[in-house]
Symmetry: C2
Subunit: 290 residues, 2 copies
């Protein structure tokens, strides 16, 4: 059983070795690699691999390839989100954003390329056809115009109005939660888990995703730019709807604690069904305790 | 057997009825619908349906849905291609481009949404799993960073240098040809055609795609803006590499004729294998004789 840090190494090695073969133009390849290989915690593919292994799945090259697709997709979303026409951010993971380095045209294409390549990696592997189709369906739903892209649209439209807590939860669930929940459930799909296990994985992923977004909102208020590697205090300046903005700092922290409690309950429900304890999930939860 | 005009009606009706259910945010939905339902010849999904029917496939709702995925993808490529950071076009199909109407941020998201939704439509249908996976693999390859996105990257990078004819052919094959060839081959995949038929379909699609791009280059030189519904004489102004730019008007016209001859040979090879004559392909070739 791999630890989180070992999964991260596995993912970083895979991404570094395999991106170049699927990209044809030098500048495009440089722009895609720049953001994909800029570090990052690799939480999403690590969730997929950690869950798959927890459920008894061997981490073959095919499994690693399929798991890494979500990192391609996540990276595209960051590149497009940072564009001048979107959040207009200049710093990401401590370095200039993709469009600051390659221009907005090439950054748009780098995002388009990563998004499309994600579906190649989900299907050009040796997994069973049923698993491949389940993954494509789930990722496209999570990332598409009723998922992540809808969340992004609500986010930029929401800047014009004040959302209720319920509306904000929906935006967050689509913008961040859907892809994290996908990552968790994908591990179950790859391991061909029972519907009951998939249900518990989804509950964990959903709560984990909510906690993640509240944490992200909180860090924008409380952290320094050096700590998080991107510009901070941007949300308030952009009139973004956030948990601290809506509930205050203490209220947002209470919401984070609540989401983590829900995630732990789902972890326990899962543990009750398995022969081994889901310690890898504790490692993911520990991300919130640094 | 449907005529091209009947296929176009079938496609338009399907798109108008089914886009809304898969999109969650009103402005995003409006932006996606604006470009998707702005008309257009629907050549790509019509090629898929025409070929599938030619090979004996009934045009069930599942087949129409899968065929229309390529139109979602094609529309995304137009929206992103028109963006200020890319070609900065103001007119498309006779109306303002997506970003002129909705802003560059929402236009970027509309494109992202259409691209992702294409993969939903390829897999959320009743086709056999093997067909779904073949379609996802082929579309992602044709549209991805070794296909259409690579062609776009070479196109904007190529503005800085003069390409040879061979390089220009590669750019065109990736930028336009790959998706048209996909559309033709997809019809064969849906109809579960033999490898030999798929081979002839690919040869037809490749030559057809080349002819299409040469025609597009020629129209930018010879047509008026009213005739083509978009700005013309843009290529020379942007120092784009084009067939007329490289070979002159007569040379480009000769290349177009050559590509059409190759396409007709592939049509004949296909006809020799089938019980019925591929008249629908003649309708697609007639597009070049207006």
């Amino acid at each position: 059983m791999h630890k989180l840090s070992e999964l991260q190494t596995l993912i970083n090695d895979y991404l570094a070795a395999h991106l170049a073969v699927d990209v044809d133009q030098p500048q495009l390849q440089a722009a895609m690699a720049y953001s994909l290989l800029a570090g990052g915690k690799r939480l999403r593919p690590a969730l997929t691999l950690g869950v798959a292994e927890l459920l008894g799945q061997e981490l073959t090259p095919a499994v690693v390839k399929a798991a890494c697709a979500v990192e391609l997709l996540h990276t595209y979303s960051l590149i497009h989100d940072d564009l001048p026409a979107m959040d207009n951010d200049e710093l990401r993971r401590g370095v200039p954003t993709n469009h600051k380095k390659f221009g907005a045209g090439m950054a748009t294409l780098a995002g388009d390329g990563l998004l499309t390549l994600a579906f190649t990696w989900l299907t050009e592997n040796e997994l069973p056809l049923t698993t491949q189709v389940q993954l494509v369906k789930s990722l496209a739903r999570a990332a598409g115009p009723a998922g992540m892209v809808a969340g992004q649209a609500k986010d930029i439209e929401g800047e014009k109005e004040e959302l209720t807590l319920g509306q904000l939860q929906t935006v967050h669930a689509q913008k961040t939660g859907a892809l994290l929940a996908y990552a968790v459930v994908a591990g179950g799909m790859i391991a061909q888990a029972t519907p009951q296990v998939i249900g518990d994985l989804f509950a964990f992923g959903k709560a984990y995703g909510l906690a993640f977004q509240i944490q992200d909102d909180l860090l924008d208020v409380t952290a320094t730019s050096a700590e998080v590697g991107k510009e901070v205090h941007r949300d308030a300046a952009a009139h973004k709807n956030t948990y601290p903005g809506l509930l205050g700092l203490a209220g947002a922290q209470a919401s984070l604690a609540q989401a983590l409690t829900t995630a732990r309950q789902a972890r326990d429900a899962l543990g009750a069904q398995l022969a081994v304890q889901p310690q890898i999930l504790d490692e993911f939860l520990a991300y919130f305790e640094r």
